[in-house]
């Protein structure tokens, strides 16, 4: 029964990783940008929600809805000011730009909020700590289910957007051939800005979940980035559903590892990541595909 419990808890943890990884996957899939500031953007989102909650006393979930437009505007601005310029000069420059952005965000957060550890778990209400005892060895947390349902909804909505709407086709067309997309009347700059705004908004959702399910501080970003990055790679670079499955696989690997020995939690996740890298990318190719 303990192993069943570990797998169930791993699925909840993995859904959280999948939400964190989603935006990373979008930015890589559409623009070939590996956003090293992604974890810090998630933490920034958590702080924006935190400020709103502190100022108004509203629920973090309502505060997130208020924070969303702020983060979307931030995503647009980020693409049009920094990333678009860096994209023009090769694949390495965006990597360096986002690395610098990561440091800037961390230090601005340190200046404004001090290194104190925060959490929104208390403000989110009692249900975030409630759970159902299914059997003696298996309990299911309410917030875990919320995260899982939201994760599936986010990925499902993205899938529908990319496969059913004209804006989604334009995003896939631009991802596949930005030059040809321009020639059929698609504003590739606009598509890139929308992709980044979408990625930042979903990162902020990951930040909200982080803030409620555990704690965060200005330097929490890089740890989140590593898990998100591993989820993307395990699922296959640029594959949308793969990212969800990759997140779930990483979560399960970590909780099962922790079942063996609590010290093995992160280690088993890394081992899964390395095993996938060796098996899949042993001289293979990377491509962007959307399941139809």
């Amino acid at each position: 029964m303990t192993i069943v419990n570990a797998v169930v808890q791993g699925i909840f943890l993995g859904a959280f990783y999948a939400v964190l990884a989603c935006g990373l996957s979008i930015m890589f899939g559409v623009m070939r940008i590996i956003n090293l500031a992604h974890g810090d953007i998630a933490v920034l989102g958590a702080y924006v929600v935190f400020v709103i909650v502190q100022g108004t006393g509203m629920s973090p979930f309502v505060a997130f809805i208020v924070a969303l437009p702020v983060m979307i505007v931030f995503g647009y601005a980020l693409q049009l000011t920094i990333l678009e310029r860096s994209l023009k000069s090769g694949i390495l420059t965006p990597l360096l730009a986002t690395f610098g952005l990561s440091i800037v965000i961390q230090n601005l957060l340190l200046i404004r909020f001090s290194p104190d550890v925060r959490s929104l778990g208390g403000e989110a209400g009692a249900f975030t700590t409630s759970s159902w005892q299914v059997t003696s060895g298996l309990s299911v947390s309410a917030f875990g289910i919320v995260i899982l349902v939201v994760a599936v909804a986010v990925f499902g909505a993205l899938q529908l957007f990319l496969s059913r709407t004209r804006a989604g086709w334009a995003m896939r067309a631009t991802a596949e051939d930005a030059d040809a997309a321009e020639l059929v009347g698609i504003n590739s700059r606009g598509v890139y800005a929308r992709a980044t705004a979408l990625a930042v908004a979903i990162a902020a959702l990951g930040g909200l979940f982080l803030a409620i399910r555990s704690v965060f501080d200005p330097l929490s970003g890089p740890t989140q980035l590593i898990f998100a990055f591993e989820a993307v790679v395990i699922g296959g670079m640029g594959r949308l559903w793969g990212t969800l499955l990759g997140g779930l696989a990483l979560g399960v690997a970590q909780t099962v590892g922790a079942q063996i020995n609590p010290e093995y939690s992160a280690l088993t996740g890394h081992l899964l990541f390395l095993a996938v890298l060796i098996v899949r990318y042993g001289g293979g190719r990377v491509s962007f595909r959307v399941a139809r």
Partner: protein
């Protein structure tokens, strides 16, 4: 009425100058063939007109309005569409999605009317573009350009890599499109075909226009020598 005017256009790829001081006009309703050997600058010229290549100097005017610094997607909304060399379809999108994503301007052309002109695509409608044959891909590429209801259709080597019988089918469809009054500027390697479909030919050599004239009256030997630069003025 002049639809397109290219004035003293210079295009470069780094140190290589592909187009050198090219000036010409295309009137509304005309069909003009650009001919010349590989590397003469034809494709670059078309890309510069469509906005995919930023010229070093000179101007591109549509309806006498300067569009030289306008980005490609905005030129599409003015009615310029390029069928690029190598087709450049979006491989994971289906035929229908490739067409519908390109519907920038309303008009005579929509998914239905494009499929009527290229009936071979009807059965392939929901198939990913990556899985089509070369001829089918070329038909989608032309159809995709038509979806923006262009006033000026730029065609870059639509017969390249296709079997002769497929090329015939593509050109039959093109004849119908030209008859409907769409202005066409096409690059074609096959001189006979170019002279047959076009009202006027422009021959380029090493980035310059070396010969220009009516397709009906132009002397074939003259064109051949201009094509290869046999009687180049010193």
């Amino acid at each position: 009425m002049t639809l397109l005017r290219v004035e003293d256009l210079d295009c470069r790829y780094g140190l290589l100058q592909a187009v050198r001081g090219v000036t010409f006009e295309v009137a509304q309703g005309e069909t003009v063939a650009l001919i010349g050997a590989n590397g003469a600058g034809k494709s670059t010229l078309l890309r510069a007109i469509a906005g995919a290549h930023r010229p070093q100097g000179g101007r591109v005017l549509i309806d006498a309005a300067d569009v030289t610094s306008m980005r490609a997607h905005r030129r599409v909304s003015l009615g310029i569409a390029l069928v690029p060399e190598g087709r450049r379809l979006f491989p994971s999108l289906t035929v229908e999605e490739n067409l519908r994503v390109a519907a920038a301007r309303r008009g005579r052309w929509n998914v239905q009317s494009v499929l009527e002109v290229f009936p071979l695509l009807q059965a392939r409608r929901h198939m990913a573009a990556a899985n089509l044959s070369g001829g089918e891909q070329q038909a989608v590429a032309i159809g995709r350009a038509l979806m923006s209801n262009p006033r000026l259709l730029l065609l870059d080597e639509v017969s390249l890599g296709l079997a002769p019988i497929v090329v015939d089918a593509v050109y039959r469809s093109l004849a119908g499109i030209i008859n409907e009054g769409t202005t066409v500027l096409l690059v074609e390697q096959d001189l006979t075909r170019a002279l047959k479909v076009a009202g006027r030919v422009i021959c380029m050599l090493e980035g310059r226009i070396v010969l220009e004239g009516d397709a009906a009256s132009v002397d074939r030997d003259q064109v051949v020598s201009a094509y290869f630069g046999l009687k180049r003025p010193a």
